[in-house]
Symmetry: D2
Subunit: 301 residues, 4 copies
């Protein structure tokens, strides 16, 4: 059978439901929804191997925040969204007072839909050197360092190896990796942010699967923050044809249409900039006590 | 009936064929194919109103060059392709010795698939000021000026009005406008260049129809050079669903999937850079006598 | 005698003072200082030909705002500075309710110290098309269009001719041109903004004198806004040597040191970004009634 | 005494000569000149502690190549210059067949005169992953990986620590670091390339001295390649005033003029691009057997 691939746990759950018998119960998985600052937050918890096998994802917590309000540029949506995101990041991290954090931006800045990681890095407050050299002034902040890992073709080094080398040197208490993802549904593109405490397999969304970046690899907790920015064109084609009533689809035929093609919003450049800023600010609010969006504006300007 | 839109005359002809009775003859349109330096060149001539009505395009010549060999980076493909393009541009322009030319790059450089025009402008040799100020040194070249018209949202000025203002001042003998186009078929994206002696309606590919840029508007001959860089996702969806055997498609339903979405190659950044260079060099070779690709490299470096 | 050149009227006045007898009175020139929102504002008015000859500048008003507080990133300095600048722009423009304005960014965006014009253009609210197409929503704003004129080498067209062509088409009531300037004194680099109601001669600061952009050329009032971003290295060398007591300086010798060299701050990239934003916001506040810095943030984001 | 600082060994030697008695001999230092492909090559060898103390540089070989011909865009100068540079790099590296190399670009890409390192990285062929994954195709090349270390303010990590972490992971046989330097003389700015087998202290040219990147730090041989792109404005001022006959200069006074100012060529953007390409190609030619400039063009395009 042609495997339907998605980076999003909420979609993996939908896919399971579509394929399963109506009566079957999804075991080993719990999910719940809530509202946070007006943003819908869905948590999917994969509790054990049974759940992991069903959804084809590692055991762990996956939190999805729907950010339509941000994209529609509602009043105050940016600050409310950054706070909602910050709140979920905090819950996953469980930071202690003196913890240090390494934030890693994955992906290729030269390719717009893949630039979420590097652009988030630019919106993250870098404080490690300030705390160490000017403790009187910056001692109340946590030590945050930032790494943009580049892509294999421009470095010759696997991202996972690169991050491991730096993490072993810096010995941060936590790593946060930020990356672009693939979704199955156009409606989710640039409209959701997923947090996970399982780490990440970079490039899994675009078919270049790489070594995992997670606690097993790095030896410290790894939080992944991802945004779906593309749908694979062949995936979309198959889904649409199915919905249009073409029952006997040969997925290999489908991949002739758009095997190297991606579907993105016309506004992808603006969307990626907006969302990268949101994630960066959400991280900053979560990592430092008693700072505001205005403080971050000032620090980064 | 839902109008199937395309910027390419070869596709308009295909669409007509799909919808017409098998026996019907397409009147008022002639087409022919040839090989030029190993590149396939198709010419569609719309001869009269009957042809114009059938293909929904103005009377004129439309030349399509297939550039797969360039994209696959075959040896020497760039020089051969630039020469093939130059040869077709020359036939449309019919330049006299002392003619001057204004080259206009349409589109938004900040949006990758829309950046063909501005990027071509950077690959075009600007000589007007050199010929006028240093005639001893540059007198053998034609006077070429270059305009990047920007987009309405960043100027407040319609491209057509902007170009008309500058053209009335400079009074060039010819205008060449370069723009990104939309295609219906994934296989043509970043794989063809269309030349037309009819001018252009900018943005027609992405649904923001604007004032035409043609001889009627500007008062001088206008050659358009266009490259399809996107397929509208709704168009693609409808086509695919149809092919998959879903006969009764409601196009309005389809546009729910991807109304604001576009389909592009994963390699769009590289593709747009390569093709913009090809077009710029093709223009340079056509506008100046006795120059080589190496001369252009030197001039532009 | 070696002409000491400066784009700033306040410096021209200083130079005159250095060279004149102590008793001589500078006739035909009035100047005054004031404080605006905590920023020092100096106005030099050249009243007649006698003053124009003495300072080597056209008759008109020249206003200099010292922006050290902005560069030092004092609290609230940006908003206070933009308001102070807006207030002076308003006095020079004397706008009527329905006036339209064309804002022109001069200079080369690819050369950091020359990028003030193009970068200011990006911080200017473009409203002409909105007011005309959506009068219900935007009817209370003035019609503002924006032009980035490019540089001769990349267009083949003189900026003055280019702007004249567009101004004749759009027929704005006022033109505002923004450009980088040269100063004689390091202390003024990126620390002052000069407004003038005399228009501008672009490139005068860096030795490539071009056609003037002023009321005579364009047929409508032209306000110039300029920022000194470089000191010519030869000028600096001569000044410094003089101060160091080397009385008999041969300026031609001096120009051997740095004839093609410029002096800029190490922080020039940040400085140019900050100041371009200040000027753009100052223009926006002056051109539209009842808008705030927050409104502009929202519009431009 | 006010220390006269320079990154270039040839200048350190000149400074020593200016300050020493005419009769004194510079001990512990040997130097020689030669021509290579029409480029002047000067080698200064610091042989022992006496020489190191005199020139204020570590013991080692310093090779300066004068590249005026490149900047003046003479015919074929690029290829000849890249070959001359490659030849000197080869002599310093003494590569074995299976050696691997890590190339590091130091500096801040966002600040033009500091961008030589990151821009050279983009002109370096990255082969490590290709050789390892496709040995049949790329097995004849050496394994080259590339690192752009970023700057402290955007990472929170010292470049030396960062490079050490990656070098310990990759275990290359050689490290090449590329950086912008400061010179004392305008005539050398963007006109010379210095190679040294001593490693480098990054940022030494602009007053932000950092931890050394050399064999002691990294545990493997480190070649440094540097280009002077700026003169410190205060240094220049003092030099010029001295030459103009102002004998009693107080250097602290002088630093009031331009303490935060740098002197660069007007054409710095073009200069830095050209030289970064030259260095990248010189490295490529030195690291791989039997490749040509055309091969590199193809690989990097």
């Amino acid at each position: 059978m042609w495997s339907k691939r998605t980076d999003l746990a909420v979609e993996a759950k939908e896919l399971w439901r579509e394929n399963a018998d109506k009566q079957t119960e999804l075991k080993g998985v719990k999910s719940r929804e809530k509202d946070s600052n007006g943003f819908k937050v869905t948590t999917v918890e994969i509790l054990n191997d049974e759940g992991a096998h069903a959804l084809n994802k590692p055991v762990g917590s996956y939190i999805t925040i729907e950010i339509d309000r941000l994209v529609q540029r509602e009043d105050n949506a940016f600050t409310l969204g950054a706070e909602a995101l910050s709140s979920e990041i905090s819950k996953l991290l469980k930071l202690k007072e003196s913890d240090s954090v390494l934030v890693v931006g994955l992906g290729n800045e030269a390719i717009t839909p893949d630039a979420v990681g590097p652009k988030t890095a630019k919106n993250t407050m870098v404080t490690r050197h300030l705390v160490e050299k000017m403790p009187d002034m910056f001692g109340s902040m946590r030590r945050v360092s930032v790494l943009v890992s580049g892509v294999l073709g421009t470095t010759g080094i696997e991202s996972a190896d690169f991050i491991k080398a730096v993490a072993e040197k810096l010995k941060p208490d936590h790593v946060i990796v930020v990356d672009a993802l693939a979704s199955r549904k156009l409606a989710r593109i640039c409209r959701t942010v997923q947090l996970a405490d399982t780490g990440i397999v970079p490039g899994s969304g675009v078919g270049n699967s790489r070594a995992a970046i997670n606690r097993e690899k790095l030896g410290m907790p790894v939080i992944a923050i991802g945004v779906p920015t593309v749908v694979d064109a062949a995936t979309l084609a198959a889904d649409l044809a199915e919905q249009a009533g073409a029952k006997d689809i040969n997925p290999e035929d489908m991949s002739n249409y758009g095997g190297d093609m991606i579907v993105t919003p016309k506004e992808i450049d603006t969307n990626v900039s907006d969302i990268s800023k949101l994630i960066g600010y959400g991280i900053n609010l979560a990592l430092h006590n008693n700072i505001s969006v205005e403080d971050i504006n000032m620090f980064l300007s």
